[in-house]
C-alpha cells in the first residue's frame, strides 16, 4: 500500500464516521420533522433532543475533516469536484447552515417561537444528505473530469445521482430510528420504543428498495463501480446485506439488543465496499489516487495529524459520551 493509498484510507475513515454519526443526526432531524404535534410526537421530539444535543456539533466536525484532508492530500480532486458539483455542494452547505442554526436557536429561543426553528432544522436535515448523495452519485457515474469544470447541472441530475441522494436520505432515517429505539429502551419508554421500531422497519424496507434501485442505476450509469462492487467489493456488500437483515430479524422478534452495532455495520460495510470498488481511482474513470496525491510531505503531515487527533480526541469524546449518560449530581 502506497502512502497515497494510506491517506485515501484516512479520508475514507472520515467519510465513514461522517456517514454514521452525522447520518444518524440527519435522520433524527427527519424524524423530528415527521413527529407531528400530538403528545407522543412531542415526547419523540424530546427523546431526539436528548440523544443528539450533546454530540450534534462534534459529529459534524467529520465533514470539515474530510474537506481538509481532501484539499491537503488530493488538491486536484478537491478542485475538480468543487468546480463541477458546485450547485449541490452549495445547497448542502446552505443546508448545514440552516440545520445548525435551526437546532441551536430552537434550544435558545423562548417556547412560542421554537416552531419555525424546528421546521427549518427538520427540512434542512432532509435536504443536506440528499445533496451530499447526489455529489457521491455524480462522482460514481464518472461525471467529474480530472481537470474539473464538468457540466454544473447534468453532472448530478442523472438517475444515479438522484437515486443515491434518495438512498442517503432513507439510510439516515433508518440509522436514526435504530439509534432511537435503543435510546427509548434506555429511557424505559416502551411506547416510544415501539414507535421507533415501526419506523426502523419501514425505513429499512425503503432503504433496501433504494439500495436495489441504486444497484440497477450503477449497472446502467457507472459500470466501473458496479463491476467493482460485484467483484472485489462483493464480500463487503454481502456483509452489509447480512447486517441489515439481522437488524430486521431482531426488530421483528422484539429484541433491541445488538441492533445498533449491526445497523452501523451495514452502513460501514457498504461505504468500504464503495472504496474497494473504486480503487485505484479517486474519481472513477478519470483520476487515480496516485495521480491525485499532493506533495509527499503533506501526505505525511496528514498521517501524523490523524494519529494525534485519534490520540487526543477519542478519549475526550469518550468522556463526553460517558458524561452525557451520567445522571446529574444532586
Amino acid at each position: 500500500m502506497s502512502k497515497a493509498d494510506a491517506v485515501a484510507a484516512i479520508l475514507w475513515i472520515g467519510v465513514t464516521l461522517y456517514a454514521v454519526f452525522a447520518g444518524a443526526d440527519f435522520g433524527a432531524g427527519m424524524w423530528d420533522l415527521l413527529a407531528g404535534h400530538g403528545e407522543r410526537g412531542e415526547r419523540a421530539r424530546a427523546l431526539i433532543d436528548r440523544s443528539i444535543a450533546p454530540v450534534w456539533e462534534a459529529n459534524h466536525v467529520w465533514l470539515i475533516f474530510v474537506l481538509v484532508v481532501l484539499w491537503t492530500a488530493f488538491p486536484q480532486a478537491f478542485s475538480a469536484v468543487m468546480t463541477t458539483l458546485y450547485v449541490p455542494l452549495s445547497l448542502a452547505a446552505l443546508g448545514i447552515v440552516l440545520r445548525g442554526s435551526g437546532f441551536a436557536f430552537r434550544h435558545a429561543l423562548p417556547g412560542p417561537v421554537r416552531g419555525p426553528a424546528t421546521r427549518v432544522f427538520g427540512i434542512s436535515s432532509l435536504l443536506t444528505p440528499f445533496f451530499m448523495g447526489t455529489v457521491v452519485g455524480a462522482i460514481a457515474s464518472g461525471k467529474v473530469p480530472a481537470d474539473g469544470g464538468g457540466d454544473p447541472i447534468t453532472s448530478w441530475t442523472g438517475v444515479l445521482p438522484l437515486v443515491t441522494g434518495a438512498l442517503f436520505v432513507v439510510t439516515c432515517a433508518y440509522l436514526a430510528a435504530v439509534f432511537l429505539v435503543r435510546d427509548a429502551g434506555a429511557a424505559d419508554d416502551a411506547d416510544l420504543e415501539r414507535y421507533f421500531v415501526r419506523r426502523a422497519l419501514v425505513s429499512a424496507a425503503v432503504a433496501g428498495a433504494a439500495a436495489l434501485g441504486g444497484v440497477l442505476a450503477l449497472h446502467a450509469d457507472a459500470r466501473f463501480v458496479y463491476d467493482g462492487l460485484t467483484g472485489d467489493g462483493l464480500p463487503l456488500v454481502i456483509l452489509s446485506g447480512i447486517c441489515g437483515l439481522a437488524v430486521l430479524a431482531l426488530l421483528a422478534r422484539g429484541s433491541a439488543r445488538g441492533i445498533r452495532p449491526l445497523a452501523v455495520g451495514a452502513v460501514v460495510a457498504v461505504v468500504w465496499g464503495f472504496f474497494v470498488a473504486n480503487h485505484p481511482y479517486m474519481l472513477p474513470g478519470s483520476l487515480k489516487i496516485e495521480d491525485a496525491a499532493g506533495a509527499s510531505a503533506s501526505l505525511t503531515a496528514v498521517i501524523v495529524v490523524f494519529g494525534i487527533a485519534g490520540a487526543v480526541c477519542l478519549p475526550s469524546l469518550g468522556l463526553l459520551y460517558a458524561l452525557s449518560q451520567r445522571r446529574a449530581l444532586e
Binding site: A46, R50, A53, P54, E57, A58, H60, V61, L63, I64, F65, L67, V68, V69, W71, T72, P75, F78, S79, M82, T83, L89, S90, A93, L94, V97, G100, S101, F103, A104, F105, H107, A108, L109, G148, G149, P152, A184, D188, D189, A190, D191, G294, A295, S296, A297, S298, A301, V305, A309, C313, S316, L317, L319, L320, L323, R326, R327, A328, L329
Partner: protein, 466 residues
C-alpha cells in the same frame, strides 16, 4: 493546473462577486471566532473567582456566559464550515495548486476545533454532573484549543502573505513541502499575537458593553457590576499590549511586505524622511487632505528619519493594490480606534487606583458601551488592511486572485443568498441572546436557560411513559 480560461465568460465579474462573498463571510465569522478564542477564558475567570472566593454572583455569571458561548460557538461552527466550502467553491485555482501547502495548517486546526466542540459540551453538561473544581478544569481545554485553533488559521493566512516552505515543480505544482516552514513563515507570529490579543479586546469590550448598558439603565447591583468588571478588565489589560504588538507587526510588514506597507502609509515615492499621513485620499501619486507629520513614517518604520521606505511607484502597475485609499484609511482607523480604547483603559485604571471604583461620571459607562463596537470596527479594519493590502495576489508573488477564482456561473446569486442568510442569522442570534438575558432578569433565581449543547432544563418530565 487545469486551464480555466476558455470557460470564463465574465472573469472580472466573478472575481468581484467571489471577493465580496469571501470578505463578507469572513468579516462575519471573525467576530464569532474572537468569541470562540476569548469568551471561554473570560467565563473561566468568573468561575475561578466564584469557586475561590465562594462568590455566587461570579458563578452565576460563568454559568450564564457558558450558554452564550455555546450559542456563539454553534453559529461560528456553521459559518466556519461555510468557509471551508468556499475555499473550493470560490477559489479552486488556489486549492488546486497550493492545497497541499496551504491545507496543512487547517488539518491541525481541525484537531483544536474538535476538542473545542467536545469540551464546550462537557463544560455545559458538567454544570450538573461534575463537582466543583473538576468542572472548572473541564473548561480549560476550551480556552487552550481556542488559542491553538487561532494559531493554525492565522498560520494559513500568513502563509498567503509571506509564502514559504515549498518549491514549485516544472508542472507549476507544489513539490518538496516543508510543513514547519509553511506553518511558521515570517508573518505567522506577528499576525497570530496581534489577532489573539484582538480576540480578548473584542470579547472583553463587547461583553462589558452589555453590562455597561444595563448599568446605565439603573441595574447597578453587584451582579451587573461584576459582569462589567471581569470582561472590561481583560480588555483593558489587553489594550496597551496591543499597541506595542501592533507597532511590532507594522515593522514586520514594512520589512516583509513593503508594497502593503506603502499602501497602508500611502507612500508613492521611495526614499528616506517619509511623511506620516494621518487620513487623506491617495490618488494620482499624492495624498490629499491628510494631516502630514514630516519624517515620522521613516522614524516609526526604522527608528530614524533616514530609514528608506519603498513607495508604490517602484511597484509595477499590475502588482499594486488596486485601492490604496481604502487600505490607508482602514489602517488609520484601526490605529485611531486602538488608541481610543487605550485611553478608555487608562481612564479606568486611574479611577481604580484612586478609589477602587469605576469613574463616577456616566460618560465612562457610555464610552464603555460603544467600546465593543469600536473594537469590532478596529478588528475589521485590520483584516481589510491585511487582505486588500495583499491584492492583486492571493498567494503573494505566486498566484493572482484573478487566476484562483472559480469559473462557476451564478456567483452573484450565491452572494445575494449568502447575504440574506447571514443577515437573518445575525438578527436571530441577537434576538436569541437578548431573549436569554431577558429571561435571566425575569427569573433571577432559576438561572437555567437551555443552550444548544445543554441537557433539557427539566430532565425528569420527559422520556417517561405515561
Amino acid at each position: 493546473m487545469p486551464d480555466f480560461t476558455p470557460l470564463i465568460a465574465d472573469a472580472g465579474s466573478n472575481l468581484l462577486a467571489a471577493r465580496y462573498q469571501m470578505a463578507f463571510t469572513l468579516a462575519f465569522h471573525i467576530i464569532l471566532a474572537c468569541f470562540g478564542v476569548a469568551f471561554p477564558a473570560v467565563m473561566l475567570i468568573a468561575e475561578y473567582r466564584g469557586r475561590k472566593r465562594g462568590d455566587e454572583d461570579a458563578l452565576r455569571l460563568a454559568r450564564r456566559w457558558s450558554k452564550a458561548v455555546a450559542v456563539l460557538f454553534a453559529v461560528g461552527a456553521v459559518s466556519g464550515t461555510v468557509l471551508s466550502f468556499e475555499f473550493g467553491l470560490l477559489w479552486p485555482g488556489m486549492m488546486d495548486r497550493f492545497g497541499d501547502a496551504f491545507g496543512i495548517a487547517f488539518a491541525i486546526e481541525g484537531i483544536f476545533f474538535f476538542l473545542e466542540a467536545i469540551f464546550i459540551a462537557i463544560y455545559i453538561y458538567g454544570w450538573e454532573r461534575l463537582p466543583g473544581w473538576a468542572h472548572f478544569w473541564s473548561g480549560v481545554p476550551i480556552a487552550i484549543s481556542g488559542i491553538g485553533g487561532a494559531l493554525s488559521v492565522i498560520a494559513a493566512n500568513s502563509w498567503m502573505n509571506t509564502p514559504a516552505g515549498f518549491t514549485l515543480g516544472s508542472d507549476g505544482r507544489v513539490s518538496d513541502v516543508h510543513p514547519l516552514d509553511v506553518l511558521f513563515n515570517t508573518s505567522t507570529w506577528h499576525e497570530f499575537v496581534h489577532m489573539w490579543i484582538a480576540a480578548y479586546i473584542v470579547t472583553g469590550f463587547l461583553v462589558a458593553s452589555v453590562y455597561a448598558v444595563a448599568m446605565l439603565r439603573g441595574r447597578r447591583d453587584r451582579y451587573h457590576r461584576l459582569g462589567f468588571l471581569i470582561p472590561f478588565t481583560v480588555a483593558a489589560i489587553a489594550a496597551p499590549i496591543q499597541i506595542a504588538v501592533g507597532d511590532f507587526a507594522a515593522r514586520d510588514v514594512f520589512n516583509d511586505q513593503p508594497t502593503k506597507f506603502a499602501a497602508m502609509e500611502c507612500v508613492y515615492q521611495s526614499g528616506d524622511n517619509q511623511t506620516e499621513h494621518l487620513g487623506g485620499i491617495c490618488t494620482d501619486g499624492e495624498v490629499k487632505g491628510s494631516i502630514p507629520l514630516p519624517g515620522v513614517d521613516s522614524l516609526l518604520a526604522g527608528f530614524s528619519t533616514g530609514t528608506v521606505v519603498k513607495g508604490l511607484e517602484g511597484v509595477p502597475a499590475d502588482e499594486q493594490p488596486p485601492t490604496p485609499t481604502t487600505i490607508h484609511l482602514a489602517f488609520d482607523a484601526m490605529v485611531g480606534l486602538g488608541f481610543a480604547m487605550l485611553g478608555l483603559a487608562v481612564w479606568f485604571a486611574a479611577a481604580w487606583r484612586r478609589g477602587r471604583d469605576l469613574p463616577a461620571t456616566p460618560w465612562f459607562l457610555r464610552a464603555a458601551a460603544v467600546a465593543g463596537i469600536a473594537a469590532v470596527l478596529a478588528l475589521e479594519c485590520g483584516w481589510m488592511v491585511t487582505e486588500i493590502g495583499r491584492q492583486p495576489w492571493i498567494v503573494s508573488g505566486y498566484m493572482r486572485t484573478a487566476d484562483a477564482v472559480t469559473p462557476a456561473q451564478g456567483l452573484w446569486w450565491a452572494f445575494g443568498l449568502t447575504l440574506a442568510v447571514y443577515v437573518s442569522l445575525a438578527l436571530i442570534t441577537g434576538v436569541v441572546l437578548r431573549g436569554m438575558a431577558r429571561r435571566w432578569r425575569e427569573h433571577d433565581a432559576a438561572s437555567d436557560v437551555e443552550a444548544p449543547y445543554s441537557p433539557p432544563s427539566a430532565p425528569a418530565s420527559v422520556g417517561k411513559a405515561p
